[in-house]
Each structure stands twice: as C-alpha cells, then as structure tokens.
C-alpha cells in the first residue's frame, strides 16, 4: 500500500513522516517519531493515557488518524519542560506525589494543561470535569486534583 506523507509540528519542531494509511497519531508519535510520552492504555478512547494537544485542543491520539494532522501543531508531555526546567504542572505533580506507576500521568498533564490554558483559575469542579476522561489506577485522583489546583495557583502568582 502506498505510504502517505504527513507533516506537522511536534512540540515546536517540524516533523515529516511517511506513514501507512490508517496509522493512529499515537502509533506515529511512539513508533515512527519516537516520542513515547503519550501512552497506549486502551486504544479505544476510554482511558485518556494517550491524550495530546492538537491546535490547542485536547485530543485522544489513539482515535486520531495521523494523516488528518497535516499542518497541525501538536504538543505532548515530553515537550513541556524548557531548558531542563519542569513545567509548573510537572513540578506540581511531583510535589503533590500525584504519580505512582506513572502510566496515566502524561495524559493527566495534557488534560490539565488544556484546562489551565483556557481556565487559568479553575474551581475544583472544573479540575474534576477536566480529568474525568482520564483513568488512574494508583493515586485515588485526589493528589492529581490537588496538583492541578497548585499549578494553577503558581501560574497566577507568576503572572502577577
């Protein structure tokens, strides 16, 4: 089968790949490009571990065909730290002990980032709603909710 060319930016860097038709963005990112920060949990859109940000919106990369991403700007968790300094969300997840096995963490952070990008000062209910598509086995969610609220506060302090 003929390969399909696809071009997009990943965490600000130009990427161009030839992929098989029907390749999910998740598989393209992990297997072709080598960004393994999005995780393949259920491969059917029910766990959120594969979440990435496409043109500012939270998307499930396991349900997104890579060939539909031409020209898109894609952000993954591996692109969040700058010059070795963790993103406030990453810092807050560490400080709040909001990760154990870590498999859900990149998806959680992506969901939280989209929330904070649109709603810099979220309520607890906003955070719960934003994380409701992401499954976690270890933490009981509360440390994750607290981490997102802490990151929002530290963002607003930095902005002030």
């Amino acid at each position: 089968m003929a390969k399909i060319p696809v071009q997009f930016t990943l965490n600000g860097a130009e990427k161009a790949e030839f992929i098989d038709g029907g390749t999910t963005l998740l598989n393209a990112l992990r297997d072709k490009i080598g960004d393994t920060s999005p995780k393949g949990g259920c491969h059917q859109g029910t766990c959120g571990a594969c979440s990435v940000i496409i043109d500012g919106e939270l998307r499930l990369s396991c349900l997104t065909l890579a060939e539909t991403c031409n020209g898109a700007a894609i952000t993954t968790t591996s692109g969040l730290s700058q010059d070795g300094v963790l993103h406030p969300l990453q810092r807050a997840f560490l400080d709040a002990f909001a990760t154990q096995c870590g498999f859900c963490t990149p998806g959680m952070i992506m969901a939280a980032k989209v929330l904070l990008d649109h709603t810099p000062d979220p309520s607890r209910d906003d955070v719960v709603e934003a994380l409701s598509g992401n499954v976690c086995r270890c933490t009981g969610y509360e440390p994750i909710i607290q981490a997102v609220l802490t990151a929002a506060r530290s963002n607003s302090q930095n902005a002030a």
């Binding site: 259920c42 029910t46 719960v128 994380l131 409701s132 086995r137 933490t139 509360e142 909710i145």
Partner: protein, 334 residues
C-alpha cells in the same frame, strides 16, 4: 422511596507477606570504585516506591546519603531471588534482605578503612555524609570515596554483601488447621458513611475515615500516597470492580473501561487518613507492609454502611445497584 443514610465500621488485621515456602527474598549490595552502592534485587517497583525505600534502607545501614545508592531491579533472570511484589511484602521482605546485605558490605568497608587509617575496624563510625571517622577522634577520617578506591585498586577487596530473608515455613496442624501464615501484621479501621437510593439502588460514599497501623513509616509522604490511593481502591472494590459480575457464569464481564467500572475523579468520597506507627519486631527499621493491606477495610465498612442505611446484607462484591434492589425486593416479600 427515599435516599437513606448509613454508617458502617470495619477493622482488619493484615499479614505482611505470606507463608509461601518461607516467602524468601534475597538481595546483593556492592560498591562501585567511587564508593556509590548498588542494590541488586529481583523485586519489582510497580510505582509503589520500592526503589526509593530500598535506597533509604541501604543508605541508613551503610551510613551514606540516600543519593549515593542505586537500586537495580532490572532483571528477574539475573538478580537474586524474590518471590515477588505482592501481599504487602516488598518493604518488609526485601528491606530485611537489604539490611543484611548492607551490613556485610559495611563491615568490609570499615575493614578497608581500618587498614588505611591503621586502627581497628571496631573503632570506626560513619557520619552519614560519606565519611568514616575514628570514634572519639573525628579529625582522623577517610572518605568512603577513597575507601572504595583503595578496596578496588590497592587492597583487592570487594565491598559487598549478601542478604536474605526467610521465615520458618509453617505447615497447618492436622487436627485444627491452625498455622502461622506471617510474622508481622498491619492493622486498619475504617468508618464509611453512605447514602443509598432505595429506588435505584445507587450508593454514594460520603466520607471514609481510615486509621492505618503500619509499623514505622519509612517514608511518610509515600506512605500517605499509598494509603490515599488504597482507600480509593477499597471503595472501588466494594462498589464497582468485577470481571465476572455473575460468577461462575462469565457473561457480562467487563471487557474495557466502559464496562469495567471504577470511581472517577467526580466520585470521590471525602477521605481522611490517620497513620499510627507501632514499629514491628522483625521489620526493617520497624516497617510493616502498608500496600495491599490499605485497600481492604473500606469494603466491609461500606457493606456495613449499606446495611445500616437500608437493612439488607450484601455478601457478594461488588455491591451493585442491582444486588441492592434484589435484596430490597426479597426483604419486602418476606
């Protein structure tokens, strides 16, 4: 038809590890040429933090900062034997093995330092910062870095140690069936408050108050993390999770996250965690196993709370709306 409120309490004793052929775990510790210490294990860190705890235990025993210890759990083919990470046994079993191995390595380290300082090894102590000092004369000292270099390149010594933990195997008594499955028990008590809708059978957990007695908390923040997650998991077991809802009939088992249910971030009960520390006699620095243990007391507490709310005893897990409604129907027809 009404929303009815109930409160339930339950307490558990929970064995740390089990009597599986003595439940052994072994560990090896050795120093690198620059005086860092490697702990080699087959025990697996699933995210519960075993690597951090084993690094702390090794560092405390040898007398170096925790960041001087690297824990390698890479390969169960090549590492020393471990029964596995389950039954709340990791910290207790592997920790005891690491202490024994680290003590042996420390002894070699002190012997090499004694040769360098021309004193008896028994007159030496560590400062916890990477140095070995003569007791009462701390100006006479040598860094562990230099001791390791000496051992490797001058004295021809291996700063290393072997450790293992094995409890006496206990067979059941023929007459009574009594046996001693473990040498160490953690304890917990939970009070759960629920609301039960007697029209839909739905249960909402309002509050969960847990007290856990876990020996000594070797890393209090990680213990708290484990207990918060475990309390949530207990609620999940009580009300949601099953692979075979009509066991032994396998029909209608959940096959994905749409059908295999767990409480999400919007379903959290207000949760309280209290830790009691009663150091265990045979645990590493008094630790017991807080892992699997901490997801248990919520289950009978919720079952009791449901009984308190609507007067039916659900003795099959999970306590689904269907089971509650069937029990209410049976109760009404009696």
């Amino acid at each position: 038809m009404a929303i009815r409120r109930g409160r339930g309490v339950a307490a558990i004793n929970y064995p740390t590890g089990m009597n599986l052929g003595g439940d052994p775990t072994q560990a090896l510790v050795h120093s690198t040429p620059t005086g860092n210490f490697m702990v080699t294990l087959s025990s697996v860190d699933l995210g519960q933090g075993m690597k951090q705890i084993m690094a702390q235990i090794c560092a405390e025993t040898i007398g170096v900062p925790t960041d001087r210890v690297v824990v390698d759990t890479a390969d169960t083919d090549t590492g020393p034997h471990c029964m596995g990470t389950f039954a709340s046994r990791g910290t207790h079993r592997a920790g005891n093995a690491v202490i024994q191995a680290a003590r042996e390595a420390r002894q070699v380290m002190l012997e090499v330092a004694a040769e360098e300082l021309e004193v008896n090894a028994s007159d030496l102590e560590t400062d916890g910062q990477g140095n070995i000092l003569v007791k009462g004369a701390p100006q006479r000292s040598i860094s562990i870095f230099d001791v390791a270099l000496s051992a490797h390149f001058k004295r021809g010594r291996s700063i290393s140690g072997r450790g293992m933990f094995l409890i006496p195997r206990s067979y059941p008594e023929k007459e009574t069936g009594a046996m001693k499955p473990s040498t160490c028990y953690a304890h917990a008590c939970t009070v759960a408050e629920v609301e039960v809708d007697d029209e839909t059978g739905e249960v909402t957990v309002l509050t969960v108050k847990n007290v856990f007695e876990i020996g000594r908390a070797l890393n209090p923040k990680m213990v708290e993390q484990q207990l918060v997650g475990g309390s949530w998991m207990g609620i999940s077991h009580a009300l949601y999770e099953t692979t075979e809802p009509y066991y032994p009939d396998r029909d209608h088992g959940g096959t994905d996250f749409n059908q295999y249910l767990m409480p999400g971030p919007g379903d959290l009960a207000q949760t309280e965690i209290i830790v009691l520390e009663r150091p265990s006699a045979d645990g590493p620095f008094g630790a017991k196993g807080p892992g699997e243990m901490c997801a248990n007391p919520q289950i009978p507490a919720v079952a009791n709370a449901v009984f308190d709310a609507v007067g039916v005893r659900i003795d099959t897990l999970p306590i689904t709306p269907e089971r509650i409604l069937r029990a209410l129907k049976a109760q009404a027809s009696n």
